[in-house]
């Protein structure tokens, strides 16, 4: 049975009929239990909205657990195309008794609470609209296999939400077809529940719901995909031939997708044999060891991991840098230090990865800011690794990697593979002379040969110990110094080769914003909000480390720059201050890290506050 808040008790705060409904600009959250299959329900809603042309994003806030704990899935619909997280969720789907009370309390006034009718609220608010659903009964009624009842119960809210918000049932059906890869039986079963729930809601929900969606043209030609799948697909088109990995959240889906896509796209038509090899290693230490072995032998090799795995790769990372071996390492950042929060997002590995390895090391890092960039860096990372003969770390994160984002179709690589300075037998015979670590071209990048090269003099000895130009062990001070100086020269060469920052400089703006990675959508929205307060800003989105000179120019062009990032220590802010010591004092940090993606509201307020008190970023060293 359904709550109908009668006129007498209708909250003052509740939207006044006169006031128009909220169309295509709100968020809903589905509070469920993980392992109950609510992912299908949520994905269906998301896709249906998307196919109605309405810009959407979905974010899954899930526990580090397999089943039984609370999960929240937020869908934001935004006619303006904003995709950042948004604190306020006007529509609550309360399907988890364990959190229903708190979820209700967190709702904004005038919100809609769609709940399982077996949930009893102790403190029932009278400033929200209720819609109770006999989910269990309807699930049973569906005649589905008892094992699937929880699962079906979730389909009930899909139907109810569709009815209340005006999501087209055809799109729901299409989404189910897509999800179940056309399996008629599954689709029928689920859609049956959806229809029944919609009908039930239509009959029983008398209350007007002041939110609805309308078909628009905001997603034409676009698709929904998660960053890890995009990364994997990019690697496939980057010609990856070897992958070694050890499972760890949130990077696991990179290799799940990689294995799947390679299976489709990289088997010999005739024989069905693989043009690649994937090894699940015993740990991350072995994974990067295998990748370096493969890269040394001439393969495009990659691994994917997260914080704890990165820590375990430290020694090999230093060797890769020093022995100059190409490798691609995806770090899907989660909350650290230590095991931290495996299912929460952060950008906490920027500084440690840049300096990964004891001694004087500097690693090359790419910072994808969208799923399209995950795809692009997926192949470009190999070009850079082979061109620079060094490990390339791609720092994505849980939010970008595991959530669905809208994107234009990915662009096919716009340049042939760059295999770097490799001398084959013929070239070597022609060249005559070969010294593995001699800086022939003056860019710090030297020539290498691959094992198997039959030309005399092709062989050399790869080592993590000090060596001369001929890769022979040497303790001569000059040899060490020259070699390390060349490595840092190569690092400077890298500044010009890695993807340059994307700059939107606003003429005359006093304030500049610098950000990277999954924070980008937040900055886009933040700038609009700041503009409404009269504060115009410029924006530089960093896409790689090492930094280059455009950064100086950008900072120099503004009185103050705010570095916005999702970690505690203002890690990129530190690297920027080191890069521009002369501007260090005008670089301010907006670093925040509580496991959730940054919201435009938070960043906007943080900036306005600092602007007010003009406070300087103090001693963080």
């Amino acid at each position: 049975m359904v709550s109908t808040v009668d006129v007498a008790t209708r909250p003052q705060a509740a939207p006044d009929r006169a006031q128009p409904d909220n169309v295509n600009d709100f968020a809903l959250v589905a509070a469920t239990v993980n392992g109950s299959g609510s992912q299908t329900a949520n994905a269906t809603l998301l896709r249906a909205l998307f196919k109605m042309g309405i810009p959407v994003t979905g974010k899954n806030l899930f526990p580090s657990n397999i089943s039984g704990l609370p999960t929240w899935y937020t869908i934001r619909v935004s006619k303006d195309g904003y995709t950042a997280r948004r604190e306020k969720t006007e529509i609550l789907i309360a399907f988890n008794p364990a959190t229903a009370e708190a979820d209700l309390a967190a709702m904004p006034t005038g919100g809609v609470c769609i709940y399982r009718n077996d949930i009893r609220f102790a403190a029932r608010r009278d400033d929200v609209i209720y819609c109770a659903l006999p989910a269990k009964e309807m699930a049973k009624a569906s005649g589905a296999d008892p094992k699937l009842l929880d699962y079906m119960a979730n389909m009930v809210y899909v139907g109810a939400v569709a009815e209340l918000l005006g999501i087209e049932l055809d799109e729901i059906k299409a989404a189910l077809l897509f999800h179940f890869k056309g399996k008629a039986k599954a689709v029928g079963l689920n859609y049956g529940v959806v229809e029944a729930a919609a009908a039930y809601t239509r009959e029983n929900m008398k209350e007007h719901v002041p939110f609805h969606v309308e078909r628009m043209n905001g997603t034409a030609g676009r698709l929904l995909i998660d960053g890890n799948s995009a990364a994997a697909l990019g690697a496939v088109f980057g010609g990856v031939t070897f992958g070694a990995w050890y499972p760890i959240t949130p990077s696991t889906s990179v290799f799940d997708a990689l294995t799947e896509y390679l299976g489709y796209l990289r088997r010999d038509e005739a024989t069905g044999e693989a043009t690649y090899a994937i090894v699940q290693s015993e740990d991350e230490l072995a994974a990067i060891g295998m990748v370096l072995g493969a890269g040394w032998a001439g393969a495009r090799a990659m691994t994917a991991t997260s914080g704890p795995g990165i820590s375990l790769m430290t020694e090999f990372a230093g060797m890769g840098f020093f022995a100059e071996i190409p490798a691609v390492i995806w770090d899907i950042m989660r909350m650290g230090p230590s095991t931290g929060l495996p299912t929460r997002v952060s950008q906490g590995d920027v500084l440690p990865v840049y300096y990964l390895g004891h001694g004087d090391t500097r690693q090359v890092c790419l910072l994808p800011g969208s799923v399209a960039e995950c795809f692009r860096f997926g192949w470009e990372a190999f070009d850079l690794a082979e061109r620079l003969q060094t490990p390339v770390f791609v720092l994505s994160d849980l939010d970008l990697g595991m959530n669905f984002w809208m994107t234009a179709p990915f662009e096919y690589p716009d340049k042939p593979m760059d295999r770097g300075k490799v001398l084959d037998a013929e070239e070597l015979r022609a060249a005559g002379e070969f010294a593995r670590y001699r800086d022939v071209d003056g860019d710090g990048i030297t020539y290498r040969t691959l094992p198997g090269n039959s030309a005399p003099g092709a062989a050399y000895f790869t080592r993590g110990t000090g060596h001369n130009e001929r890769a022979v062990y040497s303790e001569r001070p000059e040899d060490w110094e020259q070699n390390l100086a060349r490595l840092f020269k190569k690092h400077d060469t890298a500044r010009g080769l890695v993807p340059a920052p994307v700059v939107d400089q606003h003429p005359g703006a006093r304030v500049g914003l610098i950000a990277y990675g999954s924070v980008d959508p937040t900055i886009v929205e933040t700038r609009d909000r700041l503009r409404t307060t009269g504060l115009e800003t410029s924006y530089m989105r960093l896409r790689a480390l090492p930094l280059n000179d455009t950064v100086h120019d950008f900072i120099a062009a503004h009185d103050v720059v705010y570095v916005v990032e999702l970690n505690f220590d203002g890690q990129m802010r530190q690297l920027l201050q080191l890069h521009c010591p002369e501007h260090a004092a005008q670089i301010r940090s907006i670093a925040h890290c509580d496991g959730l993606p940054l919201t435009a509201r938070f960043v906007t307020e943080a900036i306005l506050e600092q602007e007010k008190k003009g406070h300087r970023n103090g001693h963080n060293g």
Partner: protein, 352 residues
């Protein structure tokens, strides 16, 4: 098998050359910087001899090692082969990557008892489980040579060392570890037994999976006193050969015949044969349980048993279970590894 991979080059006039026209010198390395008389150097000598005898093309060999005196030794042989001196205890993972992407390469790895038995035990065991095609030599001296004489995990219980004192822990038997990890080629030898080392090496180079050679290789500087079971004197006095082993390449006819029961012939996957001439005992190295029992015995009786302990080519290699195209992955053309523009379009439509 790689012996006849390369067309014979024109031999230098007069010089003695092997089947692929190379001289002994072509298999040399840099001068050794190890201590005079170090067991590792004698093993290096056998490696050079065998590579020459088998006419292995140096450019197809990769010399892999970890860290230690033993792991340094690849710099002292086969200068015409690429080498990779990896991290301490982590050579196995590097070999796994390199051989998987280039099946043309012949991996020859040299490690130490510390490198493999202490820090590297995990990678050692997992490598064996995967049956990565390679020759894995452990130059076993029971100590950490390069760090000056601490006990390694293979040091015998009760053993005494100048600085390290007395070892109170039981040794790890790297052959037994290999056996239960599913390794199909397990031999133990002694750096002082040049012929046996040579014949075992030949067999190992012709084995298709991981071939483990645990070679007792005395550290003359830190662990060569009489009462050490890893010393030359002890080895010479106590070595017990399971059999006399002779490797017979596939192109040689076996025409001598022996009395029945005096010899076992083990045929390898592409032709060559390992001949095991019976000595004291009846021992069948193709019987896994027997091998296990024999290793147990030897350990219980502190017996220094050498020879081919176990052989079985049955298990697929890592390369085989990957179901890869026959062309080595590193030799695939760009077209074969970067799917077409159309393929991307297809993926994009499937996803939208």
């Amino acid at each position: 098998m790689v012996t006849t991979a390369n067309p014979p080059a024109a031999p230098a006039p007069g010089a003695k050359v092997n089947l692929i026209g190379l001289e002994k010198n072509d298999y040399k390395g840099n001068p050794s910087t190890l201590c005079q008389g170090c067991g590792h150097d004698s093993i290096s000598a056998q490696i050079m001899a065998v590579a020459y005898e088998l006419s292995l093309p140096p450019h197809r060999i990769i010399k892999m090692s970890g860290i230690g005196c033993s792991s340094k030794s690849p710099a002292y042989f086969l200068n015409r082969s690429h080498g990779f001196n990896a991290l301490h205890g982590r050579m196995p993972s590097v070999v796994t990557g390199a051989t998987t992407v280039n099946s043309d390469l012949v991996a020859l790895a040299v490690s130490g008892d510390g490198d493999t038995g202490s820090i590297g035990l995990g990678q050692y065991k997992h490598l064996l489980r995967r049956n990565v095609p390679m020759v894995y030599i452990i130059e076993n001296n029971g100590v950490y040579g390069l760090t000056k004489g601490q006990f390694s995990a293979t040091a015998d219980m009760g053993q005494k060392l100048k600085y390290a004192g007395t070892n109170e822990l039981p040794p790890i038997d790297l052959c037994m570890e290999a056996l239960i990890a599913g390794c199909g080629f397990i031999a133990r030898s002694f750096a002082g037994d040049a012929k046996q080392v040579r014949e075992l090496l030949k067999a190992a180079f012709n084995y298709k999976g991981t071939a483990v050679l645990d070679i007792i290789s005395p550290c003359v500087t830190f662990n060569n006193h009489e009462d050490s079971t890893k010393s030359y004197t002890y080895g010479k006095a106590h070595e017990e050969r399971l059999h006399d082993i002779t490797f017979v390449p596939k192109f040689e006819e076996i025409n001598v015949d022996y009395e029945p029961g005096t010899m076992i012939n083990v045929k390898l996957h592409d032709g060559p044969t390992i001949q095991l001439h019976k000595l004291g005992e009846d021992y069948d190295p193709t019987d896994r349980t027997a091998a296990m029992r024999r290793l147990e015995e030897a350990e219980a009786q502190q017996e220094f048993m050498t020879g081919l302990i176990y052989i079985n080519e049955g298990r697929p290699t890592l390369g085989e279970v990957q179901h890869m195209v026959s062309t080595p992955l590193v030799q695939l053309s760009p077209e074969r590894v970067r799917p077409s523009r159309e393929a991307l379009v297809r993926m994009m439509t499937d996803l939208s």
